[in-house]
């Protein structure tokens, strides 16, 4: 059962690394496990491509066109991040910021986190989805607090409390969902929480209850998506955790949380029949985009900066899902992809940049192209990509989103444009002096693994000028599935 393999490999990895995580080959092991997972996922994807969507294990797991590409994305970015984290963590260890024991924790938690995300993505059961999200939170809490410094503890604590509370709301939402569902589906066979069944009968579910449920689910999972004003944990966690963790948080966890929200949205919209959920998403999205953009303006810490940029982009994606319809959903899915690729690559370079300069304060980071051209150009191109500069793919999705917004809700366009403009000025005026200019810092002891960066950026570039047919079909199918 390929799904089980895909789920089991990271768990196995977590176990192995919990045992051997302190050895010198732990990083390689980590990468190897991630690679194995990637391979398994590729098989899964191929199967889906061949036979269409899968239901498995008493319908507890399922793969449709919506989550399969997220699974693929997650596996891929997870693998590249593990590649990146190898030299990065070595350097951290050499500089005495981490002990081997911590590295063991890091590696096993990393795998556990991946497992949790796969579970969240693959499960058909809204309850299991909740459990998986909670598990992901817990594992990342440990990762964020890895350095055990005051700042990292504070960040982890805030992260834990805010997301814990949020998740609790989500649980209540799930309970309400179940409550509404069992009237239709009954308690027998425990089908009342299976998304596929819920989706089948969503028309009959009691609208009032689902309305309430959606509010709780939205607030709950939305906290993890980092929608303003529920976002406060996000910049801290991104800034204080180890960079690979920031990369996967930004690149994957937010996506997964949003995935959960969208699953719920599909059900609720089907039941209510009104655009209420869509409008809620649009509201959150717009608010996050604008606030995120203005937050960017005053940042000093490089990882914090890009954390806020994630808020902004999650806002844009949420907004697009809120608009709904084939084009907007297509654009949102595309934006999910390019954002996680770009943002993770940015975090890779940002991590090495702050290592070379021995600080995360952007005023301290100067003249990267002089020290290491790959880091410098990686950061520059990545930032330009994330800012929606053509020919990078982010522009493609933003173009679609903007045009659709003009079409469906013209009044939102100025806000979006202001957000984009301000974000551009804010990020670029910070990145340029870091990349260009003079510096006398010595290069890194271990040569940074920046191949992932350029692979990611190359993919993003390709998506800007050419979207492969299969991928496009995929997005289309998913967009149809989401509907709205």
């Amino acid at each position: 059962m390929v799904i089980l393999v895909a789920l089991g490999l990271p768990l196995l990895g977590a176990l192995l690394l919990a045992l051997f995580g302190a050895r010198h080959y732990a990083a390689e092991l980590n990468a190897a496990m991630s690679f194995a997972t990637l391979v398994a996922v590729i098989f899964l994807v191929l199967r889906v491509l061949r036979h269409g969507s899968i239901l498995a294990l008493h319908e507890q797991f399922f793969v449709d066109s919506f989550n399969v590409f997220l699974v693929a994305l997650t596996a891929f970015v997870g693998f590249t991040t593990s590649l990146f984290s190898r030299p990065y963590m070595r350097i951290e260890e050499q500089r005495g910021r981490l002990s081997p024991q911590r590295l063991r924790l890091y590696h096993s938690m990393y795998q556990l986190f991946m497992a949790a995300m796969f579970l969240a993505l693959l499960t058909n059961n809204m309850g299991l989805l909740w459990v998986a999200m909670e598990a992901a939170t817990l594992s990342t809490v440990l990762l964020v607090s890895l350095y055990r410094t005051r700042a990292s503890l504070e960040a982890a604590w805030k992260y834990f409390i805010l997301c814990g509370v949020g998740i609790a709301q989500a649980l209540f939402g799930t309970i309400l969902l179940y409550f509404a569902a069992e009237h239709i589906l009954g308690r027998q066979g425990m089908t009342a929480l299976l998304w596929t069944h819920l989706n089948a009968v969503k028309g009959q579910l009691e609208p009032r209850v689902l309305g309430l449920a959606f509010v709780f689910l939205l607030v709950g999972y939305g906290t993890k998506v980092g929608l303003a004003p529920l976002h406060n944990w996000l910049p801290d966690a991104h800034a204080e955790g180890p960079t690979p963790v920031s990369a996967v948080l930004s690149g994957l966890l937010l996506n997964v949380a949003l995935y959960a929200v969208i699953r719920c949205k599909v059900l609720v919209e089907g039941s209510i029949g009104s655009y209420l959920p869509g409008h809620m998403l649009m509201g959150f999205g717009l608010l996050s985009a604008v606030l995120g953009a203005f937050f960017l303006w005053r940042q000093r810490d490089i990882k914090r900066l890009f954390g806020y940029s994630s808020i902004e982009h999650m806002g844009i994606i949420t907004f697009a899902f809120g608009i709904g319809g084939p084009i907007a959903n297509f654009a949102a899915l595309l934006h999910m992809t390019v954002h996680s690729l770009t943002k993770s690559s940015i975090f890779f370079t940002a991590g090495h940049a702050s290592q070379t300069a021995h600080t995360q304060q952007m005023d301290g980071i100067r003249g990267l192209v002089g020290i290491s051209p790959t880091i410098g150009w990686g950061l520059m191109l990545g930032s330009l990509a994330i800012l929606g500069m053509p020919p990078f793919g982010v522009f493609a999705s933003e173009f679609l989103i903007l045009t659709t917004a003009m079409r469906e809700h013209p009044w939102t366009t100025p806000f979006l444009l202001i957000a984009l403009g301000v974000a551009f000025a804010a990020i670029f005026r910070k990145v340029q002096p870091m990349v260009f200019g003079e510096s006398d810092a010595p290069p890194l002891p271990h040569s940074p693994a920046l191949v992932p960066v350029f692979i990611h950026l190359a993919m993003v570039l390709m998506l800007g000028v050419y979207i492969p047919f299969a991928l496009a079909e995929w997005y289309r199918a998913a967009a149809r599935l989401i509907g709205g």
């Binding site: 059961n125 309850g127 459990v131 817990l138 055990r148 982890a156 814990g164 209540f172 799930t174 309970i175």
Partner: protein
């Protein structure tokens, strides 16, 4: 009088006491007391779950009840107790907002919760129909408590209280979630709690107090 009615009445009573306990928690200052109240809340939850299990004749709810007993009546309060012993955190914890105001807000929240729950309880078929409003109220009150308290521990207790509210909602409104979920949730709760335990010590050694006012360094300045 038919037993089911009796059970229903009993359940209402328990629900009411649950709400009462939440209010009490809102008003208490001493951490020690909070823990005791939390244990009480747990036991009420346990009894209500038992009753529902009996009246609905659902075996899995018995497991759920047992789980509640283990976790929320025995394990967590005990660990919490040990924790504050070890951390010496049992002193008074002054609130950010003074108690009476908090109570008033709480009252408003309860009304809001009931109003919110009405349509749901109207369509509920279980004998525990209108308890969901109370569950909601408990959740809100716990939330309020988390907002108004200053100490890490009290916040955690608030968090746990919220979980209790959730469990109560689950059992009373829907006869409990499927067992898998119940277990998953319980597991998460336990793990989360242990992580918290670890945290307390680390926070303590870093900040040499559990006062949250020390943890306001990360901000936009």
């Amino acid at each position: 009088m038919h037993p089911s009615h009796v059970i229903a009445e009993l359940l209402k009573l328990l629900a009411a006491s649950l709400l009462l306990i939440s209010f009490a928690m809102l008003s208490r200052r001493r951490t020690q007391r909070l823990i005791t109240l939390f244990a009480w809340q747990g036991s009420v939850l346990f009894i209500s779950t038992l009753l529902v299990a009996y009246s609905a004749g659902l075996t899995e709810l018995y497991y759920s009840a047992a789980l509640t007993l283990l976790l929320k009546v025995i394990a967590l309060p005990w660990i919490l107790h040990r924790l504050i012993q070890r951390l010496g955190a049992q002193w008074d914890s002054e609130t950010l907002v003074n108690i009476p105001t908090t109570m008033l807000v709480g009252l408003g929240l309860v009304i809001f919760a009931f109003g919110l729950a009405q349509p749901i309880s109207r369509m509920a078929t279980t004998i525990t129909r209108n308890t969901i409003g109370i569950a909601l109220a408990v959740i809100f009150l716990a939330f309020l408590m988390m907002i108004t308290r200053r100490k890490a521990i009290t916040q955690v207790i608030g968090f746990l209280a919220m979980e209790n509210g959730l469990f109560f909602a689950a059992t009373s409104a829907t006869y409990g979630m499927p067992m898998v979920i119940e277990l998953g949730i319980a597991l998460d709760l336990l793990v989360g709690f242990f992580i918290l335990g670890i945290f307390f010590f680390q926070i303590r050694e870093q900040f040499d107090s559990l006062d949250l006012s020390n943890m306001e360094a990360l901000k936009e300045d």
